[in-house]
Protein backbone atom coordinates (compact mmCIF):
# COMPACT_ATOMS: atom_id res chain seq x y z
CA UNK A 1 0.00 0.00 0.00
CA UNK A 2 2.75 2.42 0.98
CA UNK A 3 4.55 1.60 -2.28
CA UNK A 4 1.48 2.39 -4.34
CA UNK A 5 1.01 5.64 -2.48
CA UNK A 6 4.63 6.65 -3.15
CA UNK A 7 4.25 5.83 -6.84
CA UNK A 8 1.09 7.91 -7.09
CA UNK A 9 2.74 10.75 -5.20
CA UNK A 10 5.78 10.77 -7.52
CA UNK A 11 3.73 10.57 -10.70
CA UNK A 12 1.22 13.22 -9.67
CA UNK A 13 3.91 15.62 -8.47
CA UNK A 14 5.66 15.46 -11.84
CA UNK A 15 2.51 15.53 -13.99
CA UNK A 16 0.44 18.01 -11.99
CA UNK A 17 2.82 20.05 -9.80
CA UNK A 18 1.11 21.62 -6.83
CA UNK A 19 -2.24 19.88 -7.26
CA UNK A 20 -1.61 17.04 -4.82
CA UNK A 21 -2.14 18.41 -1.33
CA UNK A 22 -1.26 15.41 0.82
CA UNK A 23 -1.27 11.63 0.99
CA UNK A 24 -1.87 9.27 3.87
CA UNK A 25 -2.62 5.67 4.74
CA UNK A 26 -5.87 5.45 6.65
CA UNK A 27 -6.57 1.95 8.02
CA UNK A 28 -4.44 0.45 5.23
CA UNK A 29 -6.38 2.40 2.64
CA UNK A 30 -4.35 4.78 0.47
CA UNK A 31 -5.86 8.26 0.51
CA UNK A 32 -4.88 11.28 -1.55
CA UNK A 33 -6.25 14.80 -1.18
CA UNK A 34 -6.18 16.96 -4.28
CA UNK A 35 -7.18 20.47 -5.28
CA UNK A 36 -10.80 20.63 -6.44
CA UNK A 37 -9.87 22.37 -9.69
CA UNK A 38 -7.55 19.49 -10.59
CA UNK A 39 -9.74 16.62 -9.38
CA UNK A 40 -11.10 15.78 -12.81
CA UNK A 41 -7.77 15.64 -14.61
CA UNK A 42 -6.13 13.68 -11.81
CA UNK A 43 -8.96 11.12 -11.81
CA UNK A 44 -8.74 10.94 -15.59
CA UNK A 45 -4.99 10.34 -15.36
CA UNK A 46 -5.41 7.66 -12.68
CA UNK A 47 -8.08 5.98 -14.78
CA UNK A 48 -6.29 6.07 -18.11
CA UNK A 49 -2.68 5.52 -17.02
CA UNK A 50 -1.84 1.88 -17.70
CA UNK A 51 0.18 1.22 -14.57
CA UNK A 52 -2.44 2.65 -12.18
CA UNK A 53 -5.56 1.71 -14.16
CA UNK A 54 -8.14 2.81 -11.56
CA UNK A 55 -10.92 2.06 -14.01
CA UNK A 56 -13.76 1.25 -11.63
CA UNK A 57 -15.61 3.91 -9.66
CA UNK A 58 -16.72 2.19 -6.48
CA UNK A 59 -18.29 5.11 -4.75
CA UNK A 60 -18.75 8.85 -4.90
CA UNK A 61 -20.12 10.84 -2.01
CA UNK A 62 -20.11 14.19 -0.32
CA UNK A 63 -18.96 15.49 3.01
CA UNK A 64 -19.07 18.68 5.05
CA UNK A 65 -15.95 19.46 7.03
CA UNK A 66 -16.08 19.90 10.80
CA UNK A 67 -15.79 23.69 10.70
CA UNK A 68 -18.74 23.79 8.30
CA UNK A 69 -16.93 26.08 5.88
CA UNK A 70 -16.00 23.51 3.27
CA UNK A 71 -17.69 20.78 1.33
CA UNK A 72 -15.87 17.78 -0.02
CA UNK A 73 -16.34 15.08 -2.59
CA UNK A 74 -14.90 11.65 -1.89
CA UNK A 75 -14.18 9.23 -4.72
CA UNK A 76 -13.36 5.58 -4.15
CA UNK A 77 -11.70 4.11 -7.21
CA UNK A 78 -10.63 0.52 -7.75
CA UNK A 79 -8.23 -1.28 -10.04
CA UNK A 80 -9.99 -4.63 -10.35
CA UNK A 81 -7.28 -6.73 -12.09
CA UNK A 82 -4.61 -5.79 -9.52
CA UNK A 83 -7.17 -5.36 -6.74
CA UNK A 84 -5.92 -1.97 -5.58
CA UNK A 85 -8.15 0.67 -4.12
CA UNK A 86 -7.66 4.39 -3.71
CA UNK A 87 -9.63 7.15 -2.05
CA UNK A 88 -9.43 10.58 -3.64
CA UNK A 89 -10.66 13.48 -1.55
CA UNK A 90 -11.16 17.04 -2.63
CA UNK A 91 -12.49 20.05 -0.72
CA UNK A 92 -13.88 23.42 -1.74
CA UNK A 93 -15.64 26.35 -0.11
CA UNK A 94 -19.31 26.01 0.80
CA UNK A 95 -19.84 29.48 -0.69
CA UNK A 96 -18.96 28.25 -4.16
CA UNK A 97 -19.61 24.51 -4.18
CA UNK A 98 -18.61 23.73 -7.72
CA UNK A 99 -16.59 20.90 -9.18
CA UNK A 100 -16.25 19.32 -12.59
CA UNK A 101 -18.38 16.25 -13.20
CA UNK A 102 -16.83 12.82 -13.76
CA UNK A 103 -19.80 11.48 -15.71
CA UNK A 104 -17.62 11.66 -18.83
CA UNK A 105 -15.24 9.16 -17.21
CA UNK A 106 -17.77 6.85 -15.57
CA UNK A 107 -21.40 6.47 -16.61
CA UNK A 108 -22.20 5.26 -13.11
CA UNK A 109 -21.22 8.62 -11.62
CA UNK A 110 -24.47 10.10 -12.91
CA UNK A 111 -26.78 9.14 -10.05
CA UNK A 112 -24.05 9.27 -7.43
CA UNK A 113 -23.41 12.91 -8.33
CA UNK A 114 -27.13 13.62 -8.34
CA UNK A 115 -27.35 12.15 -4.84
CA UNK A 116 -24.43 14.29 -3.68
CA UNK A 117 -26.08 17.36 -5.17
CA UNK A 118 -29.37 16.40 -3.55
CA UNK A 119 -27.91 16.14 -0.06
CA UNK A 120 -25.01 18.61 -0.06
CA UNK A 121 -25.75 21.03 -2.88
CA UNK A 122 -22.52 20.35 -4.72
CA UNK A 123 -22.86 21.63 -8.27
CA UNK A 124 -21.22 19.25 -10.72
CA UNK A 125 -20.34 21.36 -13.73
CA UNK A 126 -21.17 19.63 -16.99
CA UNK A 127 -23.49 17.02 -15.46
CA UNK A 128 -26.18 16.03 -18.00
CA UNK A 129 -29.13 16.11 -15.61
CA UNK A 130 -28.30 17.61 -12.22
CA UNK A 131 -31.65 17.44 -10.40
CA UNK A 132 -32.70 16.00 -7.06
CA UNK A 133 -32.97 12.24 -6.95
CA UNK A 134 -34.14 10.96 -3.55
CA UNK A 135 -35.76 14.05 -2.04
CA UNK A 136 -38.78 15.88 -3.43
CA UNK A 137 -38.10 18.40 -6.17
CA UNK A 138 -39.65 21.24 -4.14
CA UNK A 139 -37.15 20.91 -1.29
CA UNK A 140 -35.07 24.07 -0.93
CA UNK A 141 -32.42 22.88 1.53
CA UNK A 142 -29.57 20.42 1.31
CA UNK A 143 -30.42 18.12 4.21
CA UNK A 144 -27.08 16.45 4.99
CA UNK A 145 -25.39 19.78 5.70
CA UNK A 146 -24.67 20.21 9.38
CA UNK A 147 -26.71 23.42 9.62
CA UNK A 148 -29.90 21.34 9.41
CA UNK A 149 -30.13 19.38 12.66
CA UNK A 150 -32.23 16.26 12.79
CA UNK A 151 -34.07 17.26 15.94
CA UNK A 152 -35.27 20.66 17.05
CA UNK A 153 -32.29 21.94 19.02
CA UNK A 154 -34.36 24.43 21.01
CA UNK A 155 -36.51 21.88 22.77
CA UNK A 156 -36.63 22.61 26.49
CA UNK A 157 -38.10 19.31 27.67
CA UNK A 158 -35.08 17.29 26.61
CA UNK A 159 -31.98 19.10 27.79
CA UNK A 160 -30.01 16.07 28.93
CA UNK A 161 -26.61 17.56 28.21
CA UNK A 162 -24.72 14.80 30.00
CA UNK A 163 -25.55 12.49 27.13
CA UNK A 164 -24.02 14.71 24.51
CA UNK A 165 -27.16 16.34 23.20
Amino acid sequence: MRELLNQIENQLNTKFPGDLLFTELSYDFPVITVKSTAAHKILQFLKEDESFNFHFLTDLTGLQTEDGQNLGVIYHVHNLPKNRRLRVRTFFSIQKPEIETVTDLWLGANWMERETYDFFGVKFLGHPNLVRILNVDEMDIFPLRKEYPLEDQERQDKSDKQFGR
Binding site: Y27, D59, N83, G108, I133, L150, G164
Partner: protein, 402 residues
Amino acid sequence: MSKEGNNIVPTDTIEKEYSTLNLGPTHPATHGIFQNVLKMDGEIIHDAVPTIGYIHRAFEKLAERRPYAQITPITDRLNYCSSPINNFGWHMTVEKLIGADIPKRVQYLRVIIMELARISDHIICNTIIGQDTGATTGFLYLFQFREKVYDIFESICGARLTTNIGRIGGFENEWSAYTWEKINRFLIEFPKALDEFNNLLERNRIFMDRTVNCGPISAEKALAYSFTGPNLRAAGVDYDVRVATPYSSYEDFDFIIPIGSSGDTYDRFMVRSEEMKQSIRIINQAVKNLPSGLSHADLPDFFLPPKEKVYSEMEALIYHFKIVMGETDIPKGEVYHCVEGGNGELGFYLISDGGRTPFRLHFRRPCFIYYQAYPEMIKGSMLSDAILTMSSLNVIAGELDA
Protein backbone atom coordinates in the same frame (compact mmCIF):
# COMPACT_ATOMS: atom_id res chain seq x y z
CA MET B 1 -65.63 6.96 -40.99
CA SER B 2 -66.33 7.88 -44.57
CA LYS B 3 -63.90 7.16 -47.33
CA GLU B 4 -63.33 10.86 -47.78
CA GLY B 5 -62.46 11.28 -44.10
CA ASN B 6 -59.71 8.72 -44.43
CA ASN B 7 -58.18 10.53 -47.31
CA ILE B 8 -57.85 13.96 -45.70
CA VAL B 9 -54.29 13.24 -44.52
CA PRO B 10 -52.05 11.58 -47.11
CA THR B 11 -50.57 8.40 -45.65
CA ASP B 12 -46.88 9.33 -45.84
CA THR B 13 -47.31 12.55 -43.88
CA ILE B 14 -48.71 11.00 -40.69
CA GLU B 15 -46.39 11.88 -37.83
CA LYS B 16 -45.06 9.10 -35.66
CA GLU B 17 -46.35 9.48 -32.16
CA TYR B 18 -45.15 7.80 -28.97
CA SER B 19 -47.47 6.92 -26.16
CA THR B 20 -46.55 7.41 -22.53
CA LEU B 21 -47.05 4.63 -20.03
CA ASN B 22 -46.64 4.94 -16.29
CA LEU B 23 -45.13 1.76 -14.92
CA GLY B 24 -45.49 2.17 -11.19
CA PRO B 25 -45.07 3.57 -8.54
CA THR B 26 -47.19 0.73 -7.19
CA HIS B 27 -47.38 -1.86 -9.89
CA PRO B 28 -47.65 -5.50 -8.83
CA ALA B 29 -45.07 -6.60 -11.38
CA THR B 30 -42.33 -4.29 -10.16
CA HIS B 31 -42.13 -5.88 -6.67
CA GLY B 32 -41.50 -2.59 -4.95
CA ILE B 33 -42.13 1.09 -5.24
CA PHE B 34 -40.46 2.28 -8.41
CA GLN B 35 -41.87 4.52 -11.06
CA ASN B 36 -40.80 4.34 -14.67
CA VAL B 37 -42.32 6.66 -17.21
CA LEU B 38 -42.02 4.71 -20.41
CA LYS B 39 -42.16 6.18 -23.88
CA MET B 40 -43.72 3.43 -25.95
CA ASP B 41 -43.79 2.75 -29.63
CA GLY B 42 -46.54 0.16 -29.70
CA GLU B 43 -45.21 -2.48 -27.35
CA ILE B 44 -41.59 -1.52 -27.86
CA ILE B 45 -39.97 0.69 -25.24
CA HIS B 46 -38.37 3.72 -26.79
CA ASP B 47 -37.22 5.48 -23.64
CA ALA B 48 -37.62 5.20 -19.88
CA VAL B 49 -37.27 7.74 -17.10
CA PRO B 50 -37.02 6.18 -13.63
CA THR B 51 -38.13 8.14 -10.57
CA ILE B 52 -36.88 6.88 -7.24
CA GLY B 53 -36.97 7.98 -3.63
CA TYR B 54 -40.50 6.90 -2.70
CA ILE B 55 -39.32 5.23 0.48
CA HIS B 56 -36.34 7.43 1.27
CA ARG B 57 -35.87 7.44 5.04
CA ALA B 58 -32.80 9.65 5.47
CA PHE B 59 -30.62 6.90 6.93
CA GLU B 60 -27.40 8.82 6.51
CA LYS B 61 -28.80 11.76 8.45
CA LEU B 62 -30.35 9.50 11.09
CA ALA B 63 -27.01 7.75 11.56
CA GLU B 64 -25.40 11.06 12.49
CA ARG B 65 -27.58 11.17 15.63
CA ARG B 66 -27.32 7.59 16.76
CA PRO B 67 -24.70 5.80 18.83
CA TYR B 68 -22.86 3.09 16.92
CA ALA B 69 -24.80 0.12 18.27
CA GLN B 70 -28.10 1.76 17.39
CA ILE B 71 -27.21 2.05 13.71
CA THR B 72 -27.53 -1.71 13.15
CA PRO B 73 -31.35 -1.59 12.94
CA ILE B 74 -31.02 1.08 10.23
CA THR B 75 -28.88 -1.23 8.13
CA ASP B 76 -31.59 -3.92 8.37
CA ARG B 77 -33.78 -1.78 6.24
CA LEU B 78 -31.36 -1.33 3.37
CA ASN B 79 -31.54 -4.64 1.53
CA TYR B 80 -34.24 -6.22 3.67
CA CYS B 81 -34.02 -9.51 1.77
CA SER B 82 -30.60 -10.18 3.30
CA SER B 83 -30.51 -8.05 6.45
CA PRO B 84 -27.84 -10.08 8.31
CA ILE B 85 -25.23 -9.24 5.67
CA ASN B 86 -25.91 -5.54 6.22
CA ASN B 87 -25.82 -6.00 10.02
CA PHE B 88 -22.50 -7.82 9.98
CA GLY B 89 -21.10 -5.41 7.41
CA TRP B 90 -21.79 -2.57 9.82
CA HIS B 91 -20.43 -4.49 12.82
CA MET B 92 -17.25 -5.26 10.91
CA THR B 93 -16.89 -1.61 9.93
CA VAL B 94 -17.01 -0.54 13.57
CA GLU B 95 -14.68 -3.38 14.56
CA LYS B 96 -12.23 -2.18 11.92
CA LEU B 97 -12.46 1.36 13.30
CA ILE B 98 -11.76 0.31 16.89
CA GLY B 99 -9.24 -2.35 15.86
CA ALA B 100 -11.06 -5.20 17.55
CA ASP B 101 -9.73 -8.73 17.39
CA ILE B 102 -12.60 -11.05 16.50
CA PRO B 103 -12.31 -14.76 17.34
CA LYS B 104 -12.36 -17.26 14.49
CA ARG B 105 -15.49 -18.88 15.85
CA VAL B 106 -17.44 -15.64 15.56
CA GLN B 107 -16.16 -15.16 12.03
CA TYR B 108 -17.25 -18.66 11.03
CA LEU B 109 -20.68 -18.24 12.64
CA ARG B 110 -21.05 -14.98 10.75
CA VAL B 111 -20.13 -16.72 7.51
CA ILE B 112 -22.86 -19.31 8.11
CA ILE B 113 -25.47 -16.60 8.67
CA MET B 114 -24.30 -14.44 5.78
CA GLU B 115 -24.42 -17.35 3.34
CA LEU B 116 -27.89 -18.32 4.57
CA ALA B 117 -28.93 -14.72 3.98
CA ARG B 118 -27.43 -14.81 0.51
CA ILE B 119 -29.41 -17.95 -0.23
CA SER B 120 -32.65 -16.37 0.94
CA ASP B 121 -31.89 -13.26 -1.14
CA HIS B 122 -31.19 -15.31 -4.26
CA ILE B 123 -34.27 -17.49 -3.64
CA ILE B 124 -36.40 -14.37 -3.84
CA CYS B 125 -34.74 -13.11 -7.00
CA ASN B 126 -34.68 -16.40 -8.89
CA THR B 127 -38.16 -17.56 -7.99
CA ILE B 128 -39.54 -14.18 -8.97
CA ILE B 129 -37.84 -14.43 -12.36
CA GLY B 130 -39.73 -17.71 -12.68
CA GLN B 131 -42.93 -16.09 -11.46
CA ASP B 132 -42.65 -13.26 -13.99
CA THR B 133 -42.21 -15.73 -16.83
CA GLY B 134 -45.39 -17.46 -15.67
CA ALA B 135 -43.97 -20.33 -13.62
CA THR B 136 -45.67 -20.00 -10.24
CA THR B 137 -44.91 -23.55 -9.09
CA GLY B 138 -41.21 -22.97 -8.47
CA PHE B 139 -41.93 -19.72 -6.68
CA LEU B 140 -44.27 -21.32 -4.18
CA TYR B 141 -42.09 -24.39 -3.76
CA LEU B 142 -38.75 -22.72 -3.09
CA PHE B 143 -40.25 -19.97 -0.96
CA GLN B 144 -40.77 -22.53 1.81
CA PHE B 145 -37.02 -22.65 2.17
CA ARG B 146 -36.81 -18.93 2.61
CA GLU B 147 -39.15 -19.44 5.57
CA LYS B 148 -36.78 -22.09 6.90
CA VAL B 149 -33.85 -19.67 6.67
CA TYR B 150 -35.94 -17.12 8.57
CA ASP B 151 -36.72 -19.76 11.21
CA ILE B 152 -32.98 -20.13 11.74
CA PHE B 153 -32.57 -16.34 12.10
CA GLU B 154 -35.52 -16.27 14.47
CA SER B 155 -34.01 -18.94 16.71
CA ILE B 156 -30.77 -16.93 16.93
CA CYS B 157 -31.97 -13.36 17.33
CA GLY B 158 -35.76 -13.44 17.62
CA ALA B 159 -36.53 -11.63 14.39
CA ARG B 160 -37.16 -12.91 10.90
CA LEU B 161 -36.92 -10.17 8.30
CA THR B 162 -35.27 -7.11 9.84
CA THR B 163 -33.00 -9.14 12.01
CA ASN B 164 -30.65 -6.82 13.92
CA ILE B 165 -28.65 -10.00 14.41
CA GLY B 166 -25.48 -10.14 16.48
CA ARG B 167 -23.64 -7.36 18.24
CA ILE B 168 -20.47 -5.40 17.67
CA GLY B 169 -17.99 -8.07 18.76
CA GLY B 170 -20.00 -11.22 18.15
CA PHE B 171 -23.25 -12.90 19.09
CA GLU B 172 -25.26 -12.10 22.19
CA ASN B 173 -25.59 -15.77 23.13
CA GLU B 174 -24.55 -19.25 22.10
CA TRP B 175 -26.60 -20.85 19.38
CA SER B 176 -29.01 -23.43 20.69
CA ALA B 177 -29.13 -27.09 19.71
CA TYR B 178 -32.44 -26.28 18.00
CA THR B 179 -30.66 -23.80 15.72
CA TRP B 180 -28.00 -26.32 14.76
CA GLU B 181 -30.63 -28.93 14.08
CA LYS B 182 -32.47 -26.48 11.82
CA ILE B 183 -29.27 -25.63 9.98
CA ASN B 184 -28.29 -29.27 9.49
CA ARG B 185 -31.74 -30.12 8.20
CA PHE B 186 -31.63 -27.15 5.83
CA LEU B 187 -28.25 -28.26 4.49
CA ILE B 188 -29.70 -31.66 3.63
CA GLU B 189 -33.08 -30.59 2.28
CA PHE B 190 -32.33 -27.39 0.42
CA PRO B 191 -29.88 -28.67 -2.25
CA LYS B 192 -32.47 -31.27 -3.32
CA ALA B 193 -35.23 -28.68 -3.56
CA LEU B 194 -32.93 -26.31 -5.43
CA ASP B 195 -32.10 -29.02 -7.95
CA GLU B 196 -35.79 -29.72 -8.45
CA PHE B 197 -36.47 -26.01 -8.94
CA ASN B 198 -33.61 -25.70 -11.40
CA ASN B 199 -34.83 -28.76 -13.30
CA LEU B 200 -38.12 -26.97 -13.80
CA LEU B 201 -36.52 -23.90 -15.36
CA GLU B 202 -32.90 -24.31 -16.40
CA ARG B 203 -33.45 -26.08 -19.72
CA ASN B 204 -37.13 -25.22 -20.01
CA ARG B 205 -37.85 -24.12 -23.57
CA ILE B 206 -40.42 -21.47 -22.59
CA PHE B 207 -38.22 -20.08 -19.85
CA MET B 208 -35.17 -19.90 -22.09
CA ASP B 209 -37.11 -18.25 -24.90
CA ARG B 210 -38.21 -15.58 -22.48
CA THR B 211 -34.92 -14.95 -20.69
CA VAL B 212 -32.08 -15.53 -23.15
CA ASN B 213 -31.11 -12.19 -24.68
CA CYS B 214 -33.51 -10.35 -22.41
CA GLY B 215 -32.02 -7.13 -20.99
CA PRO B 216 -28.37 -7.90 -21.78
CA ILE B 217 -25.47 -5.70 -20.71
CA SER B 218 -21.87 -6.01 -21.86
CA ALA B 219 -18.99 -6.30 -19.42
CA GLU B 220 -17.60 -2.90 -20.47
CA LYS B 221 -20.93 -1.18 -19.91
CA ALA B 222 -21.46 -2.99 -16.62
CA LEU B 223 -18.06 -1.82 -15.38
CA ALA B 224 -18.71 1.73 -16.58
CA TYR B 225 -21.97 1.72 -14.63
CA SER B 226 -20.15 0.42 -11.53
CA PHE B 227 -22.12 -2.83 -11.42
CA THR B 228 -21.11 -5.28 -8.72
CA GLY B 229 -22.31 -8.62 -7.47
CA PRO B 230 -24.21 -11.25 -9.46
CA ASN B 231 -25.22 -8.74 -12.14
CA LEU B 232 -21.59 -7.89 -12.91
CA ARG B 233 -20.56 -11.54 -12.76
CA ALA B 234 -23.34 -12.44 -15.20
CA ALA B 235 -21.70 -10.04 -17.64
CA GLY B 236 -18.47 -12.00 -17.31
CA VAL B 237 -16.34 -10.14 -14.74
CA ASP B 238 -15.16 -12.33 -11.88
CA TYR B 239 -15.21 -9.70 -9.15
CA ASP B 240 -16.42 -10.89 -5.80
CA VAL B 241 -15.59 -8.98 -2.61
CA ARG B 242 -15.38 -12.26 -0.69
CA VAL B 243 -12.36 -13.21 -2.79
CA ALA B 244 -10.89 -9.81 -3.70
CA THR B 245 -10.77 -8.44 -0.14
CA PRO B 246 -11.65 -11.33 2.15
CA TYR B 247 -13.40 -10.41 5.39
CA SER B 248 -14.63 -12.60 8.21
CA SER B 249 -12.25 -15.47 7.24
CA TYR B 250 -13.64 -16.02 3.75
CA GLU B 251 -10.08 -16.88 2.70
CA ASP B 252 -10.41 -20.15 4.65
CA PHE B 253 -13.17 -21.49 2.44
CA ASP B 254 -13.01 -23.24 -0.88
CA PHE B 255 -15.61 -22.00 -3.35
CA ILE B 256 -15.81 -20.80 -6.92
CA ILE B 257 -17.16 -17.60 -8.42
CA PRO B 258 -19.65 -18.45 -11.16
CA ILE B 259 -19.65 -16.06 -14.10
CA GLY B 260 -21.87 -15.63 -17.14
CA SER B 261 -21.02 -14.40 -20.61
CA SER B 262 -23.74 -12.21 -22.08
CA GLY B 263 -25.14 -10.46 -19.00
CA ASP B 264 -28.75 -11.24 -19.91
CA THR B 265 -31.55 -12.36 -17.63
CA TYR B 266 -30.75 -16.04 -18.17
CA ASP B 267 -27.13 -15.51 -17.13
CA ARG B 268 -28.15 -13.58 -14.06
CA PHE B 269 -30.51 -16.41 -13.14
CA MET B 270 -27.80 -19.04 -13.65
CA VAL B 271 -25.16 -17.09 -11.71
CA ARG B 272 -27.48 -16.71 -8.72
CA SER B 273 -28.47 -20.34 -8.91
CA GLU B 274 -24.83 -21.50 -8.86
CA GLU B 275 -24.04 -19.05 -6.07
CA MET B 276 -26.66 -20.70 -3.90
CA LYS B 277 -24.90 -24.05 -4.41
CA GLN B 278 -21.57 -22.45 -3.55
CA SER B 279 -23.12 -20.91 -0.43
CA ILE B 280 -24.21 -24.37 0.69
CA ARG B 281 -20.63 -25.54 0.14
CA ILE B 282 -19.30 -22.69 2.27
CA ILE B 283 -21.79 -23.34 5.07
CA ASN B 284 -20.90 -27.06 5.06
CA GLN B 285 -17.21 -26.20 5.41
CA ALA B 286 -17.92 -23.67 8.16
CA VAL B 287 -20.04 -26.12 10.13
CA LYS B 288 -17.45 -28.86 9.74
CA ASN B 289 -14.43 -26.74 10.72
CA LEU B 290 -16.12 -24.57 13.31
CA PRO B 291 -13.55 -23.65 16.00
CA SER B 292 -14.57 -23.97 19.61
CA GLY B 293 -14.62 -21.15 22.12
CA LEU B 294 -16.72 -18.15 22.95
CA SER B 295 -19.10 -16.73 20.36
CA HIS B 296 -18.11 -13.15 21.10
CA ALA B 297 -14.95 -11.10 21.34
CA ASP B 298 -13.50 -9.70 24.53
CA LEU B 299 -14.80 -6.17 24.02
CA PRO B 300 -16.24 -4.86 27.28
CA ASP B 301 -16.67 -1.39 25.77
CA PHE B 302 -19.04 -2.61 23.10
CA PHE B 303 -20.31 -6.05 23.97
CA LEU B 304 -23.03 -6.05 26.63
CA PRO B 305 -22.10 -8.00 29.79
CA PRO B 306 -24.34 -10.92 30.85
CA LYS B 307 -27.50 -9.73 32.53
CA GLU B 308 -26.91 -11.57 35.82
CA LYS B 309 -23.56 -9.78 36.16
CA VAL B 310 -25.22 -6.42 35.52
CA TYR B 311 -27.40 -7.05 38.58
CA SER B 312 -24.58 -8.22 40.80
CA GLU B 313 -21.32 -6.52 39.74
CA MET B 314 -20.54 -2.82 39.73
CA GLU B 315 -18.22 -2.91 36.72
CA ALA B 316 -20.67 -4.81 34.55
CA LEU B 317 -23.39 -2.32 35.46
CA ILE B 318 -21.16 0.59 34.43
CA TYR B 319 -20.32 -0.99 31.10
CA HIS B 320 -23.94 -1.88 30.49
CA PHE B 321 -24.97 1.71 31.15
CA LYS B 322 -22.22 3.15 28.97
CA ILE B 323 -23.02 0.90 26.03
CA VAL B 324 -26.77 1.44 26.20
CA MET B 325 -26.36 5.21 26.44
CA GLY B 326 -23.74 5.20 23.68
CA GLU B 327 -21.02 6.74 25.83
CA THR B 328 -18.08 4.52 24.89
CA ASP B 329 -14.91 6.11 23.54
CA ILE B 330 -14.45 5.76 19.81
CA PRO B 331 -11.19 6.57 18.05
CA LYS B 332 -11.07 9.19 15.35
CA GLY B 333 -10.75 7.73 11.91
CA GLU B 334 -11.97 7.23 8.41
CA VAL B 335 -12.84 3.69 7.38
CA TYR B 336 -14.21 2.08 4.26
CA HIS B 337 -15.36 -1.48 4.67
CA CYS B 338 -17.19 -3.52 2.09
CA VAL B 339 -18.92 -6.87 2.10
CA GLU B 340 -20.46 -8.92 -0.67
CA GLY B 341 -24.15 -8.27 -0.19
CA GLY B 342 -26.92 -10.06 -2.01
CA ASN B 343 -26.69 -7.52 -4.82
CA GLY B 344 -23.01 -6.69 -4.82
CA GLU B 345 -20.47 -4.61 -3.00
CA LEU B 346 -22.17 -3.14 0.04
CA GLY B 347 -19.82 -0.48 1.36
CA PHE B 348 -19.77 1.49 4.59
CA TYR B 349 -17.80 4.72 4.50
CA LEU B 350 -17.55 5.87 8.07
CA ILE B 351 -15.91 8.99 9.44
CA SER B 352 -15.62 9.23 13.20
CA ASP B 353 -14.63 12.42 14.97
CA GLY B 354 -14.40 10.68 18.32
CA GLY B 355 -17.95 11.61 19.32
CA ARG B 356 -20.76 9.33 20.38
CA THR B 357 -22.20 9.21 16.87
CA PRO B 358 -20.54 8.95 13.45
CA PHE B 359 -19.53 12.27 11.95
CA ARG B 360 -20.55 10.98 8.56
CA LEU B 361 -21.75 7.60 7.40
CA HIS B 362 -22.32 6.75 3.79
CA PHE B 363 -23.75 3.50 2.52
CA ARG B 364 -22.53 2.35 -0.87
CA ARG B 365 -25.72 0.69 -2.01
CA PRO B 366 -25.21 -1.57 -5.02
CA CYS B 367 -28.87 -1.35 -6.11
CA PHE B 368 -28.82 2.42 -6.30
CA ILE B 369 -25.74 2.38 -8.47
CA TYR B 370 -26.74 -0.26 -10.98
CA TYR B 371 -30.39 0.71 -11.31
CA GLN B 372 -29.35 3.77 -13.34
CA ALA B 373 -28.41 1.42 -16.19
CA TYR B 374 -31.99 0.11 -16.33
CA PRO B 375 -33.32 2.54 -19.00
CA GLU B 376 -30.43 1.66 -21.26
CA MET B 377 -30.93 -2.07 -20.73
CA ILE B 378 -34.61 -2.04 -21.66
CA LYS B 379 -34.47 0.35 -24.61
CA GLY B 380 -35.80 -1.38 -27.70
CA SER B 381 -37.24 -4.32 -25.82
CA MET B 382 -40.84 -5.29 -25.13
CA LEU B 383 -42.67 -4.20 -22.00
CA SER B 384 -42.85 -7.74 -20.64
CA ASP B 385 -39.07 -8.07 -21.05
CA ALA B 386 -38.59 -4.85 -19.09
CA ILE B 387 -40.47 -6.38 -16.16
CA LEU B 388 -38.30 -9.46 -16.35
CA THR B 389 -35.12 -7.39 -16.54
CA MET B 390 -36.11 -5.51 -13.41
CA SER B 391 -36.78 -8.75 -11.52
CA SER B 392 -33.48 -10.24 -12.60
CA LEU B 393 -31.55 -7.13 -11.50
CA ASN B 394 -33.04 -7.74 -8.05
CA VAL B 395 -33.78 -4.08 -7.37
CA ILE B 396 -34.74 -3.76 -3.70
CA ALA B 397 -36.56 -0.53 -2.90
CA GLY B 398 -35.07 -0.26 0.59
CA GLU B 399 -31.53 -0.39 -0.70
CA LEU B 400 -32.32 1.86 -3.65
CA ASP B 401 -33.78 4.68 -1.60
CA ALA B 402 -31.82 4.40 1.64
